[in-house]
Each structure stands twice: as C-alpha cells, then as structure tokens.
Symmetry: C2
Subunit: 226 residues, 2 copies
Amino acid sequence: MTPPAERRTPLSRERVLRAAVALADDAGIESLSMRKLAQELGVVPMALYKHVANKDELLDGVVDVVVGEIEPPVADTDWKAAVRRRILSARSALQRHSWAAQVIESRSTPTPAVLAYLNSMIGLFREGGLSVDLTHHVMHAMGSRILGFSQELFTAAPAAEPPPAAMAAQLASAFPYVAELATAAAHSEDSVVGGGCDDQFEFEFALDLLLEGIERLHRRGWMSAQ
Amino acid sequence: MTPPAERRTPLSRERVLRAAVALADDAGIESLSMRKLAQELGVVPMALYKHVANKDELLDGVVDVVVGEIEPPVADTDWKAAVRRRILSARSALQRHSWAAQVIESRSTPTPAVLAYLNSMIGLFREGGLSVDLTHHVMHAMGSRILGFSQELFTAAPAAEPPPAAMAAQLASAFPYVAELATAAAHSEDSVVGGGCDDQFEFEFALDLLLEGIERLHRRGWMSAQ
DNA sequence: ACCTGAACACCGTTCAAGT
DNA sequence: ACCTGAACACCGTTCAAGT
C-alpha cells in the first residue's frame, strides 16, 4: 500500500505547537515526547527539529499558546476589578489545560508572551494609581497567582478514592485537626461536588484576601522602608 | 585489585534517603536517578529496591527528610507569631535544599510526615481561636506557602546574566512597565544583593499581607455564606 | 531465599549516510 | 542542500538465571 498521493499539509511551527497542546490535553503531559508528537503528526522525530530547536523550545511554545488564551484586560473599571477579572480568565485557561501550570513552572525564563502578560498586569496596578514601590512588592506577593495558579497543596489528593473506614479512623486519630477540617468541608453546604471543596470559592477567597490587603496598603499610602 | 575485605556499612532505608538528599544537594535534582544513586552508594541499582519500592517512594522519602528539618512550633505566643515563625523555618529548610519545592510539588499524595506538619499548622490556627470554617478557607488560601514556598514566577530569571544593552533597550520599549519595576528594584536601598530583589523581604511582605488579612477576618467574626 | 546481570521499553539528541 | 535512519547515552523497572 503506497500512501495517498496528496501529501500531508506541511509542518509549520504553529501546527507543531497546536498538535503538542492537543496531545497533552488528550493523553497527558507525560505523553508529550518528541517521539510521540512526531508519530501523531505522521512524521519522523527529527523532522520536528526543523521547527523547534529542542524540547525546551517546544514547551515554551505550548506555554505561549495557553497564555494567548487569556482574555485582554477590560477597560472602564477600577484596577481591582480589572486585575481580578483577568486573573480569573487566566485561571480558566489553566483549567482548560490541566498540565499547563506544571509546564509553566518548569520553565526557567519567561517567554515574550508571558512578559507581555506580566507587563499588562503591572500596567493595571500602575494606571490604577499604585506607586512603583508598592506595585513591585505586590507583584512578588501575587507570584504565580497572577497567572491563575491556585497554589494548592496536593490538589490530586481529594480526587482519589476515600480510604477504607478502618484506615480513615486511624488517620483521624493521628491527625485530628486535619480530620476536623475534612469532615467540616464534606458537610459544607456551599460545596459544589458532594464531600469536596469548592475550588472556585477557595481561589476567589485567597485572591480577594490579597487584593483587599493591597487596596488597604494603597489607601494608607504604604511604602517600603527604603 | 580486589575490594577491601571489610564490607561497606549495609544499606538501610535511612542510608538510602540520606544519600539521595546529599546527591540532590551536590549534583542537582536531575542527577537523582536510581542508577546514579546506586553508583554513589557503591551498589548495583536493583539493590535499592530492597529499601524503597520504586522511585516515587524514594522521592516521598526525601520529602520526609526535608520536612523533618522544620522546627517544631514554639509555645507561649499568639497564633500569628507562631504560624509566621514556623513558616519561616519551613522556608529555611526549602532553601537549604534548592530542589525540595519542585519535588514536593511533583508528589500527588502527602506523606505521613507532611500530614503531621499540616495537622500541627491547622492546630495553631484552631488553638488560636479561629473557627473550623475560617481555618479551612485559610489553609486553602495559604496553599503551598504554608510549607515555605515562595511561589515566585521564574525565580531563576534574575540570576542569569543581564542581556546586552541593545537587547535590554528593546525589551524596555516592548515591556515598559516591567522595565520600570526592574529599574526601581535595581536602585532600591533595601536590596541586599546589588541590583536584585530581597527575596526574604518579599516573602515576609506576602506572608504578612495574608496573616493580617486573616487576623482581620477573625476579629470581624467572618464566616462563609454556607 | 536472596542477589544481580541482562534485557525491555522508553527518552532527547547527535551524526553520518543517503538522496 | 535537505532529509532521515541508526546510534548514543541515558532512564525506571522486569525478569530470569545464578548463588
């Protein structure tokens, strides 16, 4: 059987990156290898190196795709509302690509698309009237949350099946405060999924805690000791 | 040359874990492979599997070693001071092992040592008088910061050599707000390292922003909508 | 019963041989 | 000049053969 006469649409950097995002979405980030990506594209592995220098550059490229999905800032609101809304949009993008946070954190240098996003977020604070000094420390304090990271510890833990009753009782007696929190969360009314935590509520709770603290410092005319 | 008659001190789980920590400290986390660790211990790779079931269990073990270095909570202070001090101790432990944050984040389930630490931190809030409800949301809001994570974006970036002047000018015009912050930080007096940011100051700034916000909610008798 | 060498199924990337 | 198969130097882990 010879392959059909019509050739596959030729490779391009954009086609490589889009296929990489799709592969990570469908099969998980651990499946995103140069070899499997090439196979997905019906191409020999070395053909990819014409469009990305190496795997690091491929990962930078997929980060740019994800960051490109964040909606632009809205005009005609105060800085707090604009920052809040855009961070929630960034969170949506990260949630559409469950592997994205992990990949972004593995990068050592920001790509131009990430720098543009950060520049724009800094601009929202500055145009809102915050001083350079305060904005600087605020950006450090927001940290990766500015890109929509939830910064939860062990997010995968509650998704696993609950332990058998005997072990659960043992855990509860060894870690009573953890158990108290876990049972309270399980019975909470505002929990969307039965027995779990409302991730969206927790994210907004933490975000608003920070934004309100920042607003208070700004109104107080806070500046660092210099 | 035959090896000396006296045998190496026999392997044990503890010796394996200590060697793994030392190897990661000295050669970087990417050098911590089962094969290189075995070589370091003068042992065939498969010998390690007598003491750890697989590489995941090895990584859980080294996390426990690091968490074991965090100092116990101090008594006889208010909850805010006790939480603050212990988080700063956790940060010290993470800084002594530059790879630790990355490894902890790669784990999907907390080890018993991590659970014990979290249980103790929850206890500080509860014994300080915070409600179960507030403590629950506070633990989510603190997130990985409770273990001393700084949550900075691209911490490695400023450590790299500065770009040549021509490119720096181009970057400054493309990302003016980033440039404004960078130059302000470079000239700031409270910067310990010339031209960089004071990581310890930024960490404490963010930590205090959260702790003060939490204290305010607590005094106000905050509770979630239910 | 314990220990371990060889083997398996992967990686990212280099390089030389083919067209 | 371009393309690509084979090869290299690694992984974690299985398994069967040795003691």
